[in-house]
């Protein structure tokens, strides 16, 4: 398959994740959308790494995977804390900082 096929697939997954982030009301649902977007970026990095025969893309992918795991752990800890305090994880209800 040409490089364009992988890039179009990654773009498709990215915009699906973007759609999820924009439309989900639940904070965990928004995090799942962010996961999809980061995943699409990984596909792009690996595809460019393979087609340009450059190892840096693979190392970037390893780093983004590890950072994503850390991000999910912190994000879900924040969700649990918010749930304890506010009894909700609906993003629309979390408007404490609204001016």
């Amino acid at each position: 398959m040409p490089l364009h096929a992988y890039l179009v697939l990654a773009a498709l997954v990215f915009v699906i994740g973007l759609f999820g982030v924009l439309t989900r009301r639940n904070a965990v649902g928004i995090l799942l959308g962010i996961e999809l977007m980061l995943n699409a970026v990984n596909i792009n990095l690996v595809a460019f790494s393979r087609f340009r025969a450059d190892l840096a893309g693979l190392i970037f992918t390893l780093f983004t995977i590890a950072i994503t795991v850390a991000e999910v752990a912190v994000g879900l800890a924040i969700v649990i804390v918010i749930f304890r305090v506010r009894r909700t994880i609906e993003a629309d209800h979390l408007d404490l900082l609204r001016g």
């Binding site: 697939l9 915009v15 699906i16 690996v46």
Partner: protein
């Protein structure tokens, strides 16, 4: 043409599972669909001659992330005492914006010229390991520090109240 067939299988599974993640009303099902999408992404990595990343993807993403999210959902559902339904809002606006971004990316892709795929290299894993302890040694150590900080922070946030 096993690569073409594998690509289409992985692409269809990946897109379908991704759509299910953002559209299913049941949050728990969404996480399971996310696991399917992550495994399909691992399949794409295999097609791109990166079996090591396929393993990392399975272990860290499909294993680790999905487990953490399932735990978080079960904890919050147990606290609230009922199954969490999740609804979407602004579906039309979100779809229009996502489609616009997709068209924008496609515009860039169509301008780019075709790239030929170079022949597979022999010892990719060895090169990867040497790069991680050579030019990328400092970022790797920083990544370890970041992971420790993030996990300590998560532990601090989610600690039992006293």
């Amino acid at each position: 043409m096993t690569e073409t067939l594998g690509f289409w299988v992985a692409a269809v599974v990946l897109v379908a599972a991704s759509l299910a993640v953002v559209l299913t009303p049941n949050l728990f099902h969404a996480v399971l669909w996310l696991a399917a999408a992550l495994v399909a992404t691992g399949g794409v990595f295999l097609l791109l001659d990166s079996p090591f990343l396929f393993g990392v993807q399975l272990l860290l993403y499909a294993g680790g992330v999905v487990t953490i999210v399932v735990f978080a959902i079960m904890l919050t559902e147990r606290l609230v005492g009922e199954s969490i339904r999740q609804t979407s809002r602004f579906v039309f606006n979100g779809a229009v914006l996502a489609a616009a971004v997709f068209v924008g990316i496609l515009g860039f892709l169509l301008q780019a010229g075709a790239v030929t795929r170079p022949a597979a290299v022999g010892d990719q894993l060895g090169d990867l390991g040497r790069a991680l302890v050579g030019p990328f040694a400092a970022p790797l150590q920083l990544l370890g520090v970041l992971l420790v900080i993030a996990l300590l922070g998560a532990l601090y946030f989610a600690r039992a109240e006293d």
